[in-house]
Symmetry: none
Subunit: 427 residues, 2 copies
Amino acid sequence: MQRRACIIAVGNEVVHGFIVDTNSAWLAKELGELGFDVAYHLSVNDREPELTRRLKSALDEGLFVVTTGGIGPTVDDRTRHAVARALGVELQLDHDALAKLQERYAATGRKFPEGSERQTMRPAGSTHIHNAFGTASCFVARQDQGGVAVLPGIPRELEGIWGEEMRRAIIEEFGLHERWFSREVRVFGLPESDLNNRVQALLESEAAEGAILVDDAVMRLRWRVLAESRTQADEVLGRLIDAAKDVLGDLVFAEGDVSLEEATVQLLAEKGLTVACAESCTGGMIAHLMTNVSGSSETLIESAVTYSNDAKTRRLGVKPETLDKHGAVSRETAEEMARGIKHESGADLCVAVTGIAGPGGGSDDKPVGTVWLACAYRDDVKSWLLRVPGDRELVKWRTARAALNTLRLTALYGKLPETISHWMTPP
Amino acid sequence: MQRRACIIAVGNEVVHGFIVDTNSAWLAKELGELGFDVAYHLSVNDREPELTRRLKSALDEGLFVVTTGGIGPTVDDRTRHAVARALGVELQLDHDALAKLQERYAATGRKFPEGSERQTMRPAGSTHIHNAFGTASCFVARQDQGGVAVLPGIPRELEGIWGEEMRRAIIEEFGLHERWFSREVRVFGLPESDLNNRVQALLESEAAEGAILVDDAVMRLRWRVLAESRTQADEVLGRLIDAAKDVLGDLVFAEGDVSLEEATVQLLAEKGLTVACAESCTGGMIAHLMTNVSGSSETLIESAVTYSNDAKTRRLGVKPETLDKHGAVSRETAEEMARGIKHESGADLCVAVTGIAGPGGGSDDKPVGTVWLACAYRDDVKSWLLRVPGDRELVKWRTARAALNTLRLTALYGKLPETISHWMTPP
């Protein structure tokens, strides 16, 4: 029997359109992977009678209802009350959860805010789900074929709780057997249409369901299959993943849930290479991404965010004549930046970027998106001219990824690479 | 009488979570501004009986239903049929619209695709709405207090048609006068529960509808009101906004759609202050946020992302004895970093942060989240000890915001502030 689910997002801000609800799509995919057929998503405001009616109608249909939002400490957080009413049970204070929450406040020396005990209330008979990412505790309850799971509205919290405890609790409560298993490789350095053409035969495999999921220039190539165990699934998925790696070579930077910055920092650490950056147009984003990776302090010595010309000269030794003659966005400046940061930091491997992020600063000769990227490794320095499409934030985002990829490829081959991304201009 | 609406997004890709539905939020705001109270959003798959039932139930409640998606040329595009059935009228071919569509194909020398005539069908008695952005024609129909408007699922098409014709058609069909107007202030530096307590009376104002919208520590305090004109609305909204500013003082960093980094960079530019940063635990994020703001190059001279102790000494002149005796995460190191970057860069105002972002590196004495933040302005240096809750990314995110807020408050008062955020430990 196919289990059915629905997702209810609670909150005026969503219904009135002041927040785009990304949670429902995220949860729909997760529920899909657990084998639930998602019947609908609903966004409603936090008026309790309406919410109760909607919940009850879904429960009466035998649906498993996952709610997001409306479980905070304020009086307009009504989800707990509505769920208890829809289940026809009492709402109770969870004294254990409350004690733990009070301890957390005490441990950091903060006062327990008035009304915050409301965040630990849940319906009688429900299972408590710990929230390690915030203060509102969560719960799951069964009723007939369906039930209710209650999660917060903040995406980061919701995703954390789901991954840590909620997902496992649902598998247990429903005794799930066949589930969707998936594996993926992550790819950087070519346009989506090219990726699609190269792996089309693999995507159309009868053995598993293939898809390309795009986060701008970082793409995920994923297959999923319905199976009873990971071992059974891996027989099919392993073949597809290996074939994709064969076709794509070093365009694949990782298998599984690994970001480009994680893959890069891990590889640098494995090879025992230290790194330093000189950033102009990325404004600190390369270092920001690298330092999101735990353990990056082993690898990253420093990044000199030299936004002004003065800082480029002072911090990196870029010659004023070079800036005068070729401009801040030039091969010469980029290479002097890379040499300069290498000399100053003593790092094994250094990357430097200088470009025009926009919206101002472009010219016919050097339009917005013109970026020079240089890399210094051992005694070598190499540079690349990129034409990065997009607005200010996208130019920063994409240039930072191209820089990370350059570091990754250099570490991979032990020498400076030829090709670093599809934004390179033809020579 | 308050007119009520709902939004129904049709399509498997939305229900299964492979596309995030941004249309519903966009339409909710537009409908809100026309004076409709949006009761809910619903995403359903393209099974016709289910869709018909949902549409009929909304029409029976007197709602104005706006649908997106499911009006293309393929057989699984069922929205037109479902709407006709829900209205209880026949679905008819619009011969004028079909002739025009065929002309458009002929004009560009393309063959009219088989089945495309389906894209011009609409319920008897409905009003045709021209689609200048694609091939599927749209329509609007009234029934009792409510009705139905049918739009495509592609955001660009939907927004184009709405702006060109649909919005005007709805105003005419419903004879609309009043619309919603909103204003907001943005707040940083106190927990949500405290904000709620401080402005509770204002949020519960009878004159307008108040809400707190939370993006972690950055919060939006918003009111909206139904009025015939912006001037009329501003009488009410202006009073509430002024009252909120009185209550919250410098916790308000902006009015309207302005981020903390934008508010900070704008204020620094207004005051003609140059800035430099010395970042350890934020790893470049302060500079990254500032450089997301166009024009930040006028203000930001540089950021020294000194992740290693060696870089702190080399780049900022932090004494090795200080690092040895007090550690990298200490008041002494933070203040030497701030003095060092000020000396090196010559900037008017400098901020330095050093802390333990986690997950490793914490101790009983200095747990994860321990952050020293120092600021140098003129001849003054001041430092603050923060205990920032959260995981690695949150500690970075929150510390970067606290640093921006310190720059903002210093620029605001022309001197170093006492209080920079609620993460400060009691002295």
